[in-house]
């Protein structure tokens, strides 16, 4: 097993659950998210070491998982559209207020929130996963926080 493969295994052990939970917001079920995460780590492991993005391993695996999940969904149910990334809380009934507030965020911003809070992604990891700058991540999270705060803490909200 090469060094990156060991890093992959370590990443899997520490981040599997958070990856699955973040991806479940995209796939709509824990089972399909698990399948995508398993497949992503498998594909990363199967890839020649030179093809792996060792500097951004978490983001590299996430992108494989996300692509696999979207491919699977296109094959099964969804009609074609220009963009089908529309992450949602898996069980909105557990916190309807939060679910409603999150629904009001644009999909990309919502995904960044889920990556941050479900996926435990750092700003740098989110930036690499979404292929944007860390500044854009910081700005997106700041905007999301402000928007969520205005809904979740309306008494003190100032826009």
């Amino acid at each position: 097993m090469d060094g990156t493969a060991r890093e992959l295994e370590a990443l899997y052990e520490t981040r599997y659950v958070s990856f699955r939970n973040a991806l479940a917001t995209v796939t709509g079920s824990r089972e399909s998210a698990r399948d995508a995460v398993q497949e992503a780590f498998a594909r990363a492991l199967a890839a020649p070491a030179r093809e792996r993005d060792e500097a951004h391993l978490a983001a590299y695996v996430w992108k494989i998982a996300l692509r696999f999940a979207l491919e699977q969904r296109r094959k099964t149910s969804r009609p074609p559209s220009g963009h089908d990334l529309d992450p949602q809380l898996l069980e909105p009934e557990r916190d309807p207020e939060l679910a409603a507030a999150l629904r009001e965020l644009p999909p990309r911003r919502r995904l960044i929130v889920f990556l941050r809070y479900f996926g435990d992604f750092s700003y740098a990891e989110i930036a690499a996963a979404c292929e944007v700058s860390e500044g854009t991540v910081a700005a997106a999270l700041a905007q999301a926080h402000a928007q969520l705060r205005a809904v979740l803490e309306p008494e003190g909200a100032v826009r």
């Binding site: 052990e13 599997y16 699955r20 557990r94 644009p106 860390e134 402000a146 309306p154």
Partner: protein, 253 residues
């Protein structure tokens, strides 16, 4: 804001599924299978790329769209330039070009108040808006993005005490021409969609929801994106305008 982030982290974390069903041996087994089929992967990737080209290729332009072109108007006011320049602060580095900001539209929020939407391009082909968000150069969203701003005061039980209440959003769907907002009481309201030309290539809207439509039975229900031919390109439910009694009183243990 730090406290809010902590609260949000706890609140979202409470919804996380803690079950740990990981299996590294399964990953290894899948990896072996993937290696066996590796020769097929480039073909699969080529197919995906081919379909992606179809998806992202511009559709035929439809006439009648309201389009604002960059660098055609007078320079933006200094206040706007300075406001956008804040996005270039070291902690944000959005790469915005404040001098190229363009006035996109002006929306009436209340009988006595209007707001103007400004958009400025970024160096990577994205844009920032005066409503406080930026999108990267790869931004593409062909559905209709809809956000609700309860911009005034809201009681803990959900009642909106003061407006404005605003709908806002954007799309990159090149067939998009206008919007139609429908309400619970059967009323409907056309909303203009204003395009900004290259390199932004996105259409925007802002709409101040009138006070009579903050009440149960009169709330907005759906926002439909229409082409110039009247085709319904997308319909989004409008959520987030809260009403009195919507939220139960907090538990008192």
């Amino acid at each position: 804001m730090i406290d809010f982030e902590s609260d949000l982290s706890v609140r979202v974390g409470a919804l996380a599924d803690a079950r740990d069903d990981q299996s590294w041996p399964e990953v290894v087994a899948r990896a072996r299978a993937a290696r066996r089929h590796r020769r097929r992967v480039p073909i699969a990737i080529a197919a995906v790329l081919a379909s992606a080209v179809v998806i992202v290729s511009p559709a035929t332009s439809v006439g009648g769209k309201v389009i604002r072109l960059l660098d055609r108007d007078d320079p933006p006011p200094q206040q706007i330039v300075e406001s956008f320049a804040e996005w270039n602060a070291p902690q944000v580095k959005a790469g915005v070009q404040p001098d190229r900001a363009i006035k996109v539209l002006e929306a009436r929020l209340t009988p006595n108040r209007t707001t103007t939407l400004w958009v400025a391009p970024t160096r990577n082909g994205g844009f920032c808006t005066s409503r406080g968000w930026c999108e990267g150069g790869d931004f593409r969203y062909d559905r209709l993005s809809v956000g609700v701003c309860l911009c005034g005061r809201v009681a803990q039980n959900g009642e909106i005490l003061a407006g404005p209440v605003m709908l806002e959003g954007e799309t990159t769907n090149e067939r998009a021409n206008s919007l139609l907002l429908r309400f619970e009481d059967g009323e409907s309201q056309p909303i203009p969609l204003v395009w900004v030309g290259a390199p932004v290539n996105a259409a925007f809207f802002l709409y101040g929801v009138p006070k009579q439509h903050w009440q149960k039975g009169h709330l907005p229900t759906t926002l439909t994106m229409l082409s110039a031919d009247g085709d319904e390109l997308d319909t989004r439910e409008v959520h987030g305008i809260t009403t009195k009694g919507q939220f139960p009183p907090p538990d008192r243990h």
